[in-house]
Structure formats: structure tokens, C-alpha cells
């Protein structure tokens, strides 16, 4: 087998070494920053410290809207999570040299120390046979699989050098969502609702929607509140019928009677709270209040009959059919109604080359399911004037390898370096191309954005210093970005 010329990759390796050194340095020196100046921050912004290291929030109103401590460009977030890890090589990253060397063994120098989930070591480079073109003012490269994305190419900021630490689905999804690889930490949506509350008191502040063949691996730990109060955990909604189980009151209970019953329950709970002083009772009182409000607000949310035909067509929503398109429209409606954070999971992008998970029809199908609606969401938000303060994020837990993986068909394994995500609205620079990978797509040659950097940036857009949004748990002030993360200044509008 021939190997690529080493010269081709010299620059890549140099960059990677540089990056590692930088991360190493930051990682070490970042420790302890989270505890600094915390009281200062809290005083400055009107939060007294209940326990040092945490925000003071009235336990009776965990979701009351709170101002961000810094000027914010985004108020809400819609995160389109492409579960499984879409292939950047088939969608965004045209690599002629990869095609040229297709079928050859990857350079040993690049493989050294690399970890892959499934590769057996004898795989060869795989060039994509998809057609790519450049679009818009930004000149972003898109493949034929994403025709609708052409329309938003200049509204979107393209992150082409995203990197993570983890190459297995569950841990990588947890890492993207919580900054840690193990379950039990608060997710981004939980941190944001903890920090900002929610504009909606009738719907949850953090809603999770699912579409695609199955639920995301990792399950509800992906939208967990971790050690934060449980009020901040994500609430999964079904995308058709009653979005929430047990939404309907029992027979014989008119809304008026139900109101009386709920009021009685609340008063009984308050009476017990006075008696025993357990703050958890206050949380329960609030949970019941929210439950009562959801009984009317949730059906109203799901009723798409007032959406115009042109809106439905824009997203590709088919009446009564649960889909990613329906979820995108629901996401807009949720944000309109004040929900702070909506996360959509769409499975399954894990195209290893199985019979069902391949880079041909399976990938095409996934793209068809997602392309139009994702683009429509950005366009719809824009035309409604909502894009300026709604941040839309698109991406998976990792990308895929430059090497092909041979199973029943040909696919690609998980790759933690240099995958593509995009962000739009909420103060990110439209039409911005950020990050480059080497000619074979192994590593990032410029503007690497690590998961922690991404999360730091999201928090920044919403008005938080990621080092200061903390919660004290077991004696330590925890934060979303652990002891890492740097705001990606280059993409701020």
C-alpha cells in the first residue's frame, strides 16, 4: 500500500502539537478560576449568595426570568442535535486530496495515538463521491445532500474545526451537553434555565423533542439537571397528540373544579411547608402549578391549525405526522411562547456502513428529513424578527473518519477532530467561515473549536461568563466548561 507523502501533512501535525500544548497549558491554569470573584459577580448583578458559588434563586419561583449578568445577544436557544455524528466529508467538507488518495492507507504519523471506536487498523482513506459546490457570499462548501442549506448559507456561521474528546456516542453526547463524559452533570439547557429562568411560566423552560428512528443513546441524562435543582431538567415532549402523557384531567373534572382541587393541594402543601420547612415542598408546589398551566398551554402549542399553509410548506410539515420538520416548527412556537431552550434530537446519523446505516440511501434519507426544516427554521425566525435573539445550533456529538469503515457496506467511524457544526442568529456573525482542516480532514489546521469553547461561546452569547456561572456541589464550584473553554471571539457578530 502506498502512503501519502509526509510533506503533505507536516503543517497539520505542527498545528496539532501547537494546539495540544495550548490546551494543556489552559487546562492547567484554568483550575480555580471558577471560584474567583464570585461574590463580586453576584453582588454586581443583584443575586445575593445563598450558598457561595451558586445563584440565589427564590425556590418558590425557580423559573422566574432573570437578567443575564452581562450584555447578551441571544435570549433563547434551539439546538438541533444530529445524534450519531453526521459525516462532514459527505456534507460540508470537500477534500479532493482525500479522493486522490482514496483506497490508500492513511499516513502512519497521523494514526499514531489516535483512538477509534470500531476501526480495526486496516482501513484505507475514503474520498467522498458526493458533488460539492460553493455558495453565497461566504463561499461555504455544501454537498448535493443539503440543497436547502444553500438558502441560509449567508445567515449561518460555519464552524468547520469542531473537536471533542470522546469517540463513543453516549459519553460524547454527554460531553457535548454537560461538559463531562459521565452522567450526572447539568446539561446546557439546565445551566441556562438555572441562570436565566424562563420567559414562559406556562410551558417548561427547557423542552426536548425527538425524531428519527429511535431515541438518542444516553437517554434522559442528556437533558438532566445533574446536581442543579430538578426544576431545571429538560422536559421531553411528544411531537403529536398530547405532547405530554397524562395531560388530561380525569372525567368529571371541569377546568373550574380542577382549579379548586389544585388550589387545595397547593394550600395543603404550603401548610406542610410551614410545618416542616422542607424547601423541596416549594418545588413540588411549583411543579403542580406548572402542570396545571401545561394542561392548557400544551394543547395550544401543538395546534398547528393557525400556521399558514406557506409556513407548513416552508418546513415541509405534513399534518398529523411527527417529524423533524414538525419539531422545528414546534421549536419556533415554543420560543415564541417564551421557552428558553429547545433541544431537538434527530437520530440516526451513525453511518458505519451497516446494511441500514450507510453513506448512501440512509444518509440521503437523514439529509432529506433534516435539510429543509433546519433551513426553514432559520428563514422563518429571520422573517419574524426572532433570529436576532434566538441562537440556532446544528451539529452532532462528533464527526466521522477520513478512512472508510468496511462492514456490509462502506461507512465511516467516529472521529473526534475537525467536524462541522453551524450556528445562526443570537449574535453570531452571519456567513462566517470559521476553522479549517488539513487536506485529508484528519485534524484542524486553523481555529479549532473544542466542545468547551463552543459551550463557553454559547454562554457568552446569552450573557454569561462561563467561568462564573457556577454551582457549588460537594465543596466545589462546578461549571459547564469544567476548567476549560475559551469564547470563540472570531464568530461574534
Amino acid at each position: 500500500m502506498n502512503h501519502c507523502t509526509p510533506q503533505l501533512l507536516a503543517e497539520t501535525e505542527r498545528r496539532m502539537v501547537h494546539d495540544q500544548t495550548r490546551r494543556h497549558f489552559l487546562g492547567r491554569c484554568g483550575i480555580g478560576l471558577g471560584t474567583l470573584a464570585l461574590n463580586h459577580l453576584l453582588q454586581q448583578d443583584g443575586f445575593g449568595a445563598m450558598v457561595p458559588g451558586s445563584l440565589k434563586i427564590d425556590p418558590a419561583k425557580p423559573m422566574s426570568p432573570r437578567a443575564a449578568p452581562q450584555p447578551a445577544t441571544a435570549k433563547n436557544v434551539i439546538f438541533l442535535f444530529m445524534a450519531g455524528g453526521p459525516s462532514q466529508f459527505e456534507l460540508f467538507s470537500d477534500k479532493p486530496r482525500l479522493r486522490e488518495f482514496s483506497g490508500q492507507a492513511p499516513p502512519a504519523s497521523l494514526m499514531a495515538g489516535k483512538r477509534f471506536a470500531f476501526l480495526k487498523g486496516n482501513e484505507t482513506l475514503l474520498g467522498s463521491n458526493r458533488k460539492f459546490s460553493q455558495y453565497g457570499q461566504s463561499g461555504m462548501t455544501l454537498s448535493e445532500l443539503l440543497p436547502h442549506h444553500q438558502k441560509i448559507v449567508d445567515d449561518v456561521c460555519w464552524l468547520r474545526g469542531v473537536s471533542t474528546d470522546v469517540f463513543n456516542h453516549g459519553p460524547a453526547k454527554l460531553f457535548m451537553n454537560t461538559g463531562f463524559q459521565v452522567p450526572g452533570r447539568p446539561s446546557l439547557g439546565a445551566w441556562l434555565t438555572y441562570g436565566l429562568g424562563s420567559e414562559s411560566q406556562d410551558l417548561p423552560g427547557f423542552v426536548v423533542l425527538q425524531s428519527g428512528p429511535r431515541g438518542p443513546r444516553g437517554g434522559n441524562s442528556l437533558w438532566s439537571s445533574g446536581f442543579l435543582p430538578t426544576s431545571y431538567q429538560g422536559v421531553p415532549f411528544r411531537s403529536s397528540g398530547d405532547p405530554i402523557l397524562n395531560l388530561r384531567s380525569p372525567q368529571g373534572m371541569s377546568p373550574g373544579r380542577e382549579r379548586k382541587l389544585y388550589d387545595t393541594v397547593a394550600a395543603l402543601n404550603r401548610s406542610r411547608l410551614d410545618e416542616v420547612g422542607d424547601p423541596e415542598i416549594m418545588t413540588r408546589i411549583n411543579a403542580y402549578e406548572m402542570a396545571a398551566r401545561m394542561q392548557t398551554s400544551a394543547p395550544e402549542l401543538m395546534d398547528l391549525s393557525k400556521e399558514s399553509a406557506s409556513t407548513l410548506d416552508l418546513y415541509g410539515v405534513k399534518a398529523g405526522q411527527p417529524s423533524f420538520a414538525t419539531n422545528c416548527l414546534l421549536a419556533r412556537r415554543l420560543v415564541e411562547r417564551g421557552t428558553r431552550f429547545v433541544q431537538l434530537y434527530h437520530t440516526d446519523w451513525d453511518h458505519h456502513g451497516d446494511q441500514k446505516n450507510n453513506l448512501s440511501d440512509a444518509l440521503e434519507q437523514r439529509c432529506k428529513e433534516v435539510d429543509q426544516a433546519a433551513a426553514a427554521l432559520v428563514m422563518d425566525l429571520k422573517q419574524r424578527g426572532m433570529l436576532k435573539d434566538t441562537l440556532v445550533i446544528w451539529g452532532g456529538e462528533f464527526g466521522r473518519t477520513p478512512m472508510g469503515e468496511v462492514r456490509q457496506t462502506v461507512g465511516r467511524d467516529h472521529h473526534i477532530e475537525g467536524f462541522t457544526m453551524w450556528m445562526a442568529g443570537g449574535g453570531v456573525k452571519p456567513g462566517c467561515l470559521h476553522g479549517e482542516t488539513d487536506e485529508l480532514g484528519f485534524g484542524v489546521t486553523q481555529d479549532r473549536v473544542h466542545v468547551h469553547d463552543l459551550n463557553a461561546t454559547i454562554l457568552h452569547l446569552l450573557g454569561f461568563d462561563h467561568e462564573r456561572l457556577t454551582y457549588r456541589f460537594q465543596g466545589r464550584d462546578f461549571r459547564l466548561t469544567d476548567v476549560h473553554g475559551e469564547v470563540v471571539k472570531g464568530i461574534l457578530g
Partner: protein, 979 residues
């Protein structure tokens, strides 16, 4: 990831003044120094490590006995920015004066290091003597109180008796005490009344259920195989075994050995084999095209990880890919542990099983309903040719006014896809998935239906034109299930226009997965029948069923031959069926016509018997290799096959004489785990027992006793409990008695504002914790309060009602035929548990999904939980039944005080106490308000009361208002909380 120890509340100083490394020095070094001078060579500076004595001494950072010569002292005292430690760039505060003094004394005393606390032998510290001797009831209290006194904190007063009996009943049995039990306990003047209560509860068969459920979490018990297909499995005999063993107080060492290696004991009993199902609770991937070896390896790894988590409290899983970063668990250790479990006969979905009947584990075999002779034998003669008369019947049935249905939902278990064609038929257009089950939900304009007709239809896309998906166009329809409103309807007669010899239509309603309706015919059949043509089968219901707006659900099972699925079909219904001629072969088919009572269930999760998966080793052992990076495709051949072994560092920490020398089988592993000089097993086990009583363990990270876990808040107490456990012959009941009899446990759980500063998280236990009970117990408490509880212990799983739409999130629709009769009211732990789509009550209330070991459940408090208790069908039914119970216990037409009496009784039932004045007023107001409304709206009152019969002398408005009272009570925090 860093996990820091709990904030040091006080320095534990030995009276001798001897500084303890683990408690006083390690936290300082860990916090201030280890990041740059610790175990991680990637972040290590100046080639100095302070986490080992050798490292510290090597560079004279520490010179034992000579603090002034120790560079460590120089640096921590320095103010020079270039040499001070921690350095300015670390942005850490300087050490406090007290910390500096402690380090100085430690160096003076010789700078001794200690190994990681959890691996050290159990410390034999007798319970100390607190100043307030009178408060302590036993050793537990001496430890707790001594520490509280040190902090200047008073313990809380004992909770009142009503709270105590509710608390200890929920903790030991998971059931509410009855009002009579509460009253008797409140009146009991015996100074040992509480201890007697505890003894009674420990003797209750429900004790084994309550604590068995905790154990089943660790055993990752579930009723399905997991992964995407997630088919049912019959593992409930193992659940029976756990319940029985705990009730029998089987010593924990035996309990351990039987589960890990019961099959390797000399002449194992059947129950000892049942116990080994512990490690067959691993997942099975039933998808087509999987590599069975891959999933065998996954299962073996899960066994290693589970064993590590359950008995050792260690996250050994990290060592699957590499040597553990922080704990002394090497990559090789992992695969030596792996070698114990690598010998099983089971390979993914194949493996050793054993039939276990209902009740057998308890020594009470329940005779299954007599089984009809196997159909294949029985039907041979009559069914091999057209049964005389059957064609007549079928012709008659086929000529009825069949109405097409309107399809509402149609899908398949494997999600292979059904497509609705313009002619209102359904086509399996995805090519079908092996042994798939089709599920069709349909509407009909008919008021009632008496029979369902299944038309199987040809289509150009099907092999040979169909109507089946087999290569020749055939199918075998093994079972047809027809249900309306969640109730499966018995079929009294099945007939078809045509059938293959030995495969008549009746075989599709016999509940036997090995028989079914098929249509193949030999070429040149005398009757001229063709296989590849439209055919139909008619299923006549035992009783016509009123639809009343309800939907019809039909499931078509194809359990016999993988690809023999129906390809295209349509359903039709008819309102009435004429009386069938008595001479017709209804009699001939009688063995196949089923009534609900006679239907024998299939072995499985809900059947009368189970093919229980058990452990068995291969005769010729497999070789075990270390997998590089945990990849089973990359065995380390150079290192060669590994012999079984345990974690070397834990073994090395055991006293030499008690240390086993050889490890060969799972039995050796099990015996090592419960070897009295293995300090981890009793510590981990007692810590979890403590956790269930106080909301958190003495070691809060009960799953991680490694160096990254939290340190014990009361280390001596933990060791004393662990030692007691062994001294008490590994008796769980003895330890339960010890803990729940303590004054610490009996304290009030009321919040103490005075602790907000000193101990806001109640780590020192100056009061009890107030905790919301687990998912299963919420259901159980509701069943207790309503009087509906079916207290039967053990047996197969059941299907209580669950909300519509549970499966709209999942790939696979599950077969959830709601249980009727007593099975509807079993305790929560018997609810059939599908890993991919559990009953929502459980996930909503934080039950795990049992994909892997769960040692601690989280506890959330959400609006979805509120909606569950408020609106879930089961809880609404409980509220109604509780109202009926109140009417029954306080009967009669309304007289002065009756309404109040019923409210008082409701509170006594639900809260084990009477209401406060305020609570009473609130409930009375609700009752009065709604009574007024219901008196004006009889229909609403009837709807609120529901389908249960109205008690004598009770007006429906009265009854409906009472339902609101009971429903309000069930929804209060006090009801779902153990105070």
C-alpha cells in the same frame, strides 16, 4: 473529572496528637499540590510527585522528621512569587496557618503515608462515648452524637409515633401502616413498642420485596432483552429468589456466592441455579446481522463492571480500555476479572436456560392450567385434509356483511414498515423483518363487532406475488390477538377459506407460538386451491363487543419461521354472526377454540412459567486476552492468555494470611468478595444500606470508593458497621435492626434553621432526611390507601394500565394488554419492565432503565410527576377506590360529622395521622364546594365517580366530591414523602 471530598467539617485529631495522613494531609495535598505533583504524568511539573512517599522523599521535598529541611515546608511558607507554592499562576489561595502546622507536625512525626482509605483493613474503633450518654441508643448514635458534639450541634428530638411508624413501614416494607396499626402503636405503652414494631416489619414478607427492589436495581433486572428489538424475557424467578432470600435473611456471603457461582457449588439446588440469573440480566441484541461474539463480550464486560460496582464500589469499567487513571486498577486486572466470566455457555441470545414454574422458588409450585395437547400432534389427522363441514361454515361466515375498517395506526415491532395502499390494504413494503409482529389500530363505524376477518392479499412486490413474504409467497401467522380498549378478546372460532395441512386458522388463536395458519399446498392439489392467491380467515369473538368509539387493535404474530410474514392484508369487521350449525366442526376444533380462562400463557415475562436464563460454564474454558483499548477485535496476543484474578491492589491490601492464593472460577471470586478480610464488600454494602435510610451514604459517592470518590463523613462509623455486619454473620436483618432502632434514625426530619450555616446539607445527621419515596413505592402507597392492593408476593410480571402514547417515542411498539382483575393492583415492582420503553410512572419518578447496574437513584421533582399522580389512570382509579373505601368504612346517609369523619379517616389512611386544623378546613372547603357543583351536575358526578358501583345510601354527588378529597390527598407532598 475531579470529584472533591466534602468540605472538611472538622479536623479529626487523634487524642494522641498523631496526624492522620488520609484525613488531614491527603486532602491538603490533593487540593493544593496533586494537580502538578500528583499521579497524572501529563500534568506533572518538575518531575516531582507528592502522592507517593517515594516520590516525596526522592527530591527531599519531604525529609521525615525534619520539617525545616523539607523543601515542601520552605515552599509553602515562601512569599517569593518565583518559589512559593502553590504558585501564583495556579490562582489558589495560600495554605492556612492551621494547614501549615498540620503538615509540619506530620513531617515531624515521620511523614508516614497511608494507602487509599477504602482499601485499608477495617478499623476496629469501638463506638466512642459522647457527653450526652442518655441520648444514644446504640453504637450508631455514639458515633453520630460524638461528632455532633464536636461541632456544637444538638441532635433533633425523636419524631412522633405516627411519623415513626409511617417512616419505618415505608423503609422496611414499602407499604403504609393501616390506621389500626398506627393507633395500636400510638397507644402501646411498652418501652420496647418501637423495637417490637421493627421486628414485626422485618418478619413481613413485604420486607423482601422492599429491599429486594433495591437489590434488583443493582442486578439491572428487567423483563426484556434490551437494545432495539427489546423482546420479552422471563427472569421473574430470579426476582422471586431475591425476595425469598432476603425474607429468609440468607447471610450476605451466601447471598453473594449463590448469585455469582451457585452453579459451581457441589450439587447445587434448583434455587441456587436460579440465583445465578443475577448475571444473566445482561442485554441481548436480537437484531439481524449482529456479531454474536460482540454481544457476548459486551455481556461479559457488563458482568465485570457490575460485580465491581455492586461489591467493590469501584468503577472498574475504566480499566476496560486502559489502566485506571487514578485508582490502582490495571488494564490487566480488568481482564483477569473478565476471565472469571468469560467461560459462560451463553452467547448473546443463546445460552443455558431452565424452566421454573410460578411459585416454585418459594417452594409452592402452582399448577399451570392443563395444557391442551400440542396442536401439531392433535391436528395431524383431522387437519391434514379439509375438515368436513368447515368449508360450509367458512362460506357462511364469508358471506356476511363485512365492513372495512379505517386504519388509525399501523406499525411493526421491528419497525420494518407497513404502507397503506389506496385500496385500504396494508403492504409490508420494507421487505419484513425476521419474526416481526404487526400491530394495527383501526376504527369502525359499527356499534359493536362480533368477528374480525383477515384478508391476505397478493401483490406484485411480494415473492411469487404473495400473499406472504416467504420465498414461495407463504406465511405462518402464529398468533392473532384482537383487543378493544386494551382488553384482549377471546376468540371462539377461527376458520379459513384455505389452509396448509397442519396449519389451520385455529392454530393462530391457540396462544402457541409454534403453531399457526399457513397456506402452502402441494402442486396439483386435488382441491385446485392455490397458494399464491387472495385468502381469508375469520375470527369469531367469544362475545360480541361494543365498540362505543373505542378502537380495535389487532396484532399479527409471526413467531415461527423468520421470513414467513404476511405480505399484504386487510381487516374487516362484522356486527353479528349467525348461530353456527351445531353439527359443524366447532366440536372438532374445540381444543383450539379458546376461552380466556383456559388459555395457557406462553412461558416468559408474564407467563406461568419461565425459561430462566442461568449461568453455566463451558467444559473447555475459553482463553482470555487483554483487549487493547477495550476492543475485542484487538486481543493482546503478546501478553498471552490471562488466568482469572482479582484486582491486585485490593488483594495486596489484605492481610497476607487471609489472602487467597489461587483464583480459578467464579466461586473463588465470590468467596474472595465475602472474605472477612476484604474490606470493600462490607463497607460498600453497609454504605448503601445507610443511604437508603438517610438519603445519602456515609460515603456520598457510594458508587465510587476509589480515590476520586468522596471521603466518608463518618469513617469510623462506616468501619464499625462493616465490622458488625461480619460479626452478625452477614445478617441484613440484624443491621437493619441496628440502624432503624438507633436514635439517629428516629429523629424528626423537620428542617433546622440553626443548621443552615453549620451543616446545610445535613451531612452530620442532626436530623432525619425527608425523602420522596421511589416510583414503585408511590404506586404501592396509593394502592394501600385505596385498599386496592393485591399483596401477592412474587411471580410473573403484570401490566397495570399505562397512558396512551407511551410508545410514540420508541422504535418498537410493545404488546401491552392491560391486566384485569387482581393483577391490575400488584405492587409496582411487578410491573413488566421493558428496557426500551418502561412504564412511564417509573421513568418519570427516576427509576433507571436497567441498561446497566444502578446503585443509586436520583430524586427529581417535576411537573410531569405532578401530572402522573394527578391524571394517570391508575392513580385516578386509586382515588376513586379510596373514596369508596371511606364510604364503606364510614357508611350511611349523611349525618352530622360524617363528612368530617371521612376526611379525618382519609388523612389517617394516607398520612398515618389526622389532619392539622388547617388541612381539615382546606379539605372540607374543597368537599363542600364540589358537592355543591356535583349536586347541580349529576352527569359530571357520575363521570367523576367512574365505573365502580355506588355504595349504598351514598348520593353520587357526595361520592364524587369525596373523590376530589382523596385525589387531593394523594397529590400532596406529604403523601409521597417519607418524613
Amino acid at each position: 473529572m475531579l470529584a472533591l471530598p466534602i468540605p472538611p467539617l472538622a479536623a479529626a485529631v487523634e487524642p494522641s496528637g498523631k496526624v492522620r495522613f488520609n484525613e488531614q494531609i491527603r486532602p491538603i495535598l490533593s487540593d493544593m499540590c496533586f494537580h502538578c505533583h500528583g499521579p497524572d504524568d501529563k500534568t506533572r511539573d518538575a518531575d516531582l510527585r507528592l502522592d507517593t512517599r517515594e516520590g516525596a522523599l526522592e527530591n527531599r521535598a519531604v525529609v521525615p522528621g525534619k520539617p525545616d529541611e523539607s523543601e515542601l515546608m520552605v515552599r509553602i511558607l515562601s512569599h517569593d512569587r518565583s518559589e512559593m507554592m502553590p504558585p501564583p499562576k495556579a490562582k489558589k489561595p495560600s495554605l492556612t496557618e492551621a494547614q501549615v502546622t498540620t503538615i509540619r507536625r506530620w513531617i515531624e512525626q515521620g511523614a508516614e503515608y497511608e494507602g487509599h482509605w477504602a482499601f485499608l483493613p477495617l478499623r476496629q474503633t469501638p463506638p466512642p462515648a459522647p457527653k450526652n450518654e442518655a441520648w444514644s441508643r446504640n453504637g450508631v448514635d455514639r458515633f453520630i452524637l460524638t461528632r455532633l458534639e464536636k461541632e456544637g450541634i444538638q441532635p433533633s428530638a425523636e419524631a412522633d409515633r405516627a411519623t415513626l411508624i409511617r417512616r419505618v413501614s415505608l423503609d422496611l416494607t414499602g407499604l403504609l401502616p393501616t390506621p389500626a396499626e398506627v393507633r395500636a402503636f400510638e397507644k402501646d405503652a411498652d418501652p420496647l413498642a418501637y423495637e417490637r414494631l421493627v421486628d414485626r416489619l422485618l418478619e413481613s414478607p413485604h420486607y423482601g420485596e422492599r429491599w429486594g427492589r433495591h437489590w434488583l436495581d443493582q442486578a439491572r433486572y428487567a423483563d426484556s432483552n434490551g437494545y432495539t428489538i427489546d423482546g420479552e424475557r422471563g427472569m421473574w424467578p430470579f426476582r422471586d429468589w431475591v425476595i425469598k432470600s432476603l425474607n429468609d435473611d440468607l447471610p450476605f456471603d451466601r447471598f453473594t456466592i449463590e448469585q455469582l457461582a451457585g452453579d459451581l457449588l457441589p450439587k447445587p439446588t434448583k434455587n441456587q441455579l436460579v440465583a445465578t440469573a443475577f448475571h444473566r440480566n445482561t442485554l441481548i441484541n436480537e437484531e439481524g446481522g449482529t456479531d454474536p461474539e460482540q454481544f457476548r463480550v459486551e455481556a461479559v464486560m457488563d458482568r465485570v463492571n457490575t460485580t465491581g460496582a455492586v461489591w467493590l464500589g469501584l468503577t472498574v469499567g475504566c480499566a476496560q480500555c486502559h489502566t485506571h487513571k487514578f485508582d490502582p486498577i490495571t488494564h490487566e486486572d480488568y481482564y483477569r476479572m473478565y476471565a472469571f466470566f468469560n467461560q459462560g455457555t451463553d452467547v448473546n441470545n443463546k445460552g443455558t436456560t431452565m424452566e421454573v414454574g410460578k411459585g416454585e422458588v418459594f417452594g409452592k409450585m402452582v399448577k399451570a392450567t392443563p395444557e391442551p395437547a400440542p396442536l401439531a400432534k392433535r391436528a395431524k389427522t383431522p387437519a391434514s385434509t379439509q375438515v368436513p363441514g368447515s368449508d360450509v361454515i367458512h362460506t357462511r361466515l364469508a358471506s356476511l356483511m363485512w365492513q372495512p375498517v379505517e386504519y388509525v395506526e399501523y406499525d411493526t415491532t421491528a419497525n420494518a414498515g407497513l404502507k397503506l395502499l389506496p385500496d385500504n390494504s396494508l403492504l409490508a413494503d420494507g421487505g419484513g423483518s425476521f419474526n416481526d409482529t404487526y400491530r394495527v389500530v383501526a376504527k369502525s363505524s359499527l356499534k359493536k363487532i362480533a368477528a374480525v376477518r383477515l384478508r391476505v392479499l397478493t401483490h406484485e412486490s411480494l415473492p411469487k406475488g404473495g400473499p406472504g413474504l416467504a420465498g414461495n409467497g407463504n406465511f405462518v401467522l402464529t398468533d392473532v390477538e384482537i383487543s378493544v380498549g386494551g382488553r384482549e378478546l377471546p376468540v371462539k372460532l377461527a376458520s379459513a377459506d384455505h389452509f396448509q395441512p397442519n396449519y389451520p386458522a385455529q392454530a393462530a388463536v391457540d396462544g402457541d407460538a409454534k403453531t399457526g395458519w399457513a397456506i402452502n399446498v402441494a402442486k396439483g392439489s386435488a382441491t385446485g386451491a392455490r397458494m399464491n392467491a387472495d385468502h381469508d380467515a375469520v375470527f369469531v369473538l367469544e362475545q360480541p363487543v361494543s365498540l362505543d368509539g373505542q378502537q380495535l387493535e389487532v396484532r399479527l404474530h409471526h413467531d415461527l419461521n423468520e421470513k414467513y410474514l404476511v405480505g399484504r392484508f386487510a381487516l374487516e369487521v362484522v356486527e353479528a354472526v349467525p348461530d353456527l350449525p351445531r353439527s359443524a366442526p366447532v366440536v372438532a376444533t374445540a381444543p383450539n377454540t379458546l376461552t380466556t380462562a383456559a388459555k395457557k400463557t406462553k412461558p416468559g415475562a408474564t407467563g406461568d412459567s419461565a425459561e430462566l436464563m442461568i449461568m453455566k460454564d463451558l467444559e473447555k474454558p475459553r482463553q482470555t486476552f487483554l483487549f487493547q483499548r477495550g476492543d475485542f477485535l484487538r486481543p493482546d496476543q503478546k501478553l498471552g492468555p490471562l488466568t482469572p484474578g482479582v484486582i491486585a491492589a485490593v488483594l495486596a491490601a489484605m492481610p497476607e494470611l487471609q489472602r487467597p492464593q489461587h483464583f480459578q472460577s467464579r466461586l473463588d471470586l465470590a468467596q474472595w468478595l465475602v472474605n472477612p478480610s476484604n474490606p470493600l464488600t462490607p463497607r460498600v454494602t453497609m454504605n448503601r444500606l445507610w443511604m437508603h435510610y438517610f438519603g445519602r451514604g456515609i460515603v456520598e459517592t457510594e458508587e465510587d470508593f476509589g480515590s476520586q470518590g468522596s471521603a466518608p463523613v463518618h469513617p469510623e462509623l462506616l468501619d464499625w458497621l462493616a465490622g458488625e455486619f461480619i460479626r452478625q454473620g452477614w445478617s441484613f436483618k440484624a443491621m437493619h435492626r441496628l440502624v432503624v432502632n438507633s436514635a439517629t434514625y428516629r429523629q424528626s426530619s423537620r428542617n433546622r434553621p440553626d443548621l443552615a450555616e453549620k451543616d446545610p446539607r445535613n451531612l452530620l445527621l442532626a436530623r432525619q432526611e425527608r425523602v420522596r419515596v421511589e416510583a414503585e413505592i408511590i404506586r404501592d402507597a396509593g394502592l394501600c390507601a385505596s385498599g386496592l392492593l393485591n399483596p401477592a408476593v412474587g411471580g410473573p410480571s403484570v401490566r397495570p394500565p399505562q397512558p396512551e402514547g407511551v410508545y410514540s417515542f420508541t422504535q418498537n411498539k410493545k404488546n401491552w394488554i392491560t391486566s384485569v382483575g387482581p393483577d391490575r393492583y400488584r405492587r409496582g415492582m411487578y410491573t413488566l419492565f421493558y428496557r426500551s420503553a418502561p412504564h412511564p410512572l417509573f421513568t418519570t419518578f427516576d427509576a433507571p432503565d436497567f441498561q446497566q447496574v444502578c446503585t443509586r437513584r436520583s430524586r427529581s421533582n417535576t411537573p410531569l410527576q405532578a401530572l402522573t399522580v394527578a391524571n394517570d389512570e391508575a392513580f385516578v382509579e386509586m382515588a376513586r377506590a379510596m373514596a369508596a373505601r371511606l364510604c364503606k368504612e364510614l357508611p350511611g346517609p349523611v349525618y352530622a360529622g360524617l363528612r368530617e369523619g371521612r376526611i379525618l379517616l382519609a388523612c389517617r389512611i394516607a398520612y398515618s395521622r389526622g389532619p392539622s386544623l388547617e388541612e381539615l378546613k382546606l379539605l372540607q372547603k374543597l368537599s363542600t364546594d364540589l358537592l355543591g357543583e356535583y349536586e347541580k351536575d349529576r352527569a359530571a358526578a357520575e363521570a367523576a365517580w367512574g365505573p365502580q358501583p355506588l355504595p349504598d345510601n351514598v348520593a353520587v354527588a357526595e361520592a364524587a366530591a369525596l373523590v376530589s378529597v382523596t385525589r387531593a390527598i394523594l397529590n400532596t407532598d406529604a403523601f409521597v414523602t417519607r418524613e
